[in-house]
Amino acid sequence: MSGLEHVLLALQALRANWLRGLLTALGIIIGVASLVALTAISAGAQEGVASDLRRLGPNIILLDGEFVTLPNGQMTATDRTLTRGDLAAVAQLPAVTAVGRRQLVEMTVSSGRRQTTTILTGIDETFQRMHNYAAAQGRLLTAADDREGREVIVLGSKPAQRMFKGAPAVGRTVRILSREFTVIGVYSTKGNLGPDDLDNQALVPITVAKRVLFGGEAIQGADVQVRTQAQVVPTMDEIDALMAERHKITSGSGEDFSTEDQTQIITAAAAATSTFKTLTLALGAIALVVGGIGIMNIMLVSVTERTREIGIRKALGAEPSRIQAQFLVEALALCVGGGLAGVGIGLVAARMVAKLAGWPTLISPPSLIIAFVSSVVVGLFFGYYPARRAARLPPAVAMRYD
């Protein structure tokens, strides 16, 4: 008997009871479908983290001045403690390749009658380069803008859209606290960093910002870039030590600065969703196992129902291995059918999630193969015992069974 005939034999038995077969395979279908959909979502989220890192710039330490709690409960860094001298000293550390200054505050920006609230961000050219800013319209800030104190501004896509409604922004002027800034560019969209919307920003040269908007000598914060990711944590420790020494902080008194790993912020944001996905992935695996148990149950029922048939087949000379193969192929056919249907439904579900929830999904062929193979493994595993039981039925007893 060829393999094909085995399969045909199994399909013949399944066709005779197709509704039961479908219900039996449902567990496998749901299990595989959720595995496929969830791996697509999870892979999409991982791909999101990787692209976040590329987009926001790699190997960056966020150095901030003293944090205070605002009356509304939010934490914010102040511009009282971090001095130019501090930043110069940090820049001297061996692993540090760049130090970009920044200071930001929520402000109202207006153009004519249209006004919008955005994060006004004073930066230098180094900061802009470190974070991979790119111009979508016009140009970005330059070192000359900063040096010569030009009152120019580069808008994020959101304030630009809100003020100019798609009309060209470059060359227009916007008003901030009764001062006028010339729009020289709009930067390409950057997405989110943790909870912060990086497209709702307006960039001005830090020197200008300090002079006309913020005042004061100290700066709110700086982003420190090191060569490799491996240097991030040790360098953070070095900065902490250096700053503690410069600010004469002894253990016990509170620090008036803070350091943070940008990569951690990104991965922490992803970790929340990833925990959720691990959980649902586990649920998918459980569904697969439960589906497998369902198949085993039905196969055992089937073996009992067909005891007489098994006896007849054995009397006609079927070896135990033939009987075992017949029932195993039947269980496999259920699982393979369920697996294929599950892959199909999972793909549709992933696409719907991408469309309705707006989550990025990434369908990788290996994940489909893994989902399918695991359904086959489930079929073999849970089909084995009933098939063996069928194969071991003594023919004389089986023939007498009613």
Partner: protein, 233 residues
Amino acid sequence: MDGPVIETTAVHMRYASGEMSVEALRGIDFVVAAGEFVAIMGPSGSGKSTLLSILGCLERPTAGSYRIADEEVSAFDERKAARVRRERIGFVFQSFNLLLRSTAAQNVELPLFYAGVGREERRERTRAALEAVGLGDRVDHLPRQLSGGQQQRVAVARAIVTRPDVVLADEPTGNLDSHSQDEILELLGDVHAQGATIVMVTHSREVAEHGTRIVHVLDGLIDADEAVARVAW
């Protein structure tokens, strides 16, 4: 093959269930030569069905020797027994024992299928066997579309399709009306006339007399062995 088709020596069969133990066969010496048509008679509980089970390699005797076509099979495991069944034995049962979801042809084909006979030869031999039992026009019928007599004809076709050394029939007419009974006995007579060796279990003297020899089993032993007089025929 020079020896007898079937030869049992001191075959015992003991069934144990819990502390109870029943000795169904207590030393059966039984020989069937090629071309015989032997009827085994006996009251229920005499052990005749157990004997047929052992002759068919469906059960192993607890003691004694069983040779079929010079091959000692009494100690064969299930795999080897399956081989003996499909190569040497054809079965006809009281309750037909056809696969209900398979057509007449599929039922007849089954032993060839397990014997690894190729598709074309299988189809050819199946058709020939069904024609031999007069069902050449019923090949694609399901068992439920056939009468009892026709179903048993299919079973006979299935038993002879492998050209076995011996056909074992267990009350082959027990579930049939008298008309169908005559048909099936006539058919077995034809099969025998064409050279088949047949061993048939029955409780009916009338049925048994269609054979060439009647063996009486009582309390697990062979009680009498008589040749059937052919004068009346």
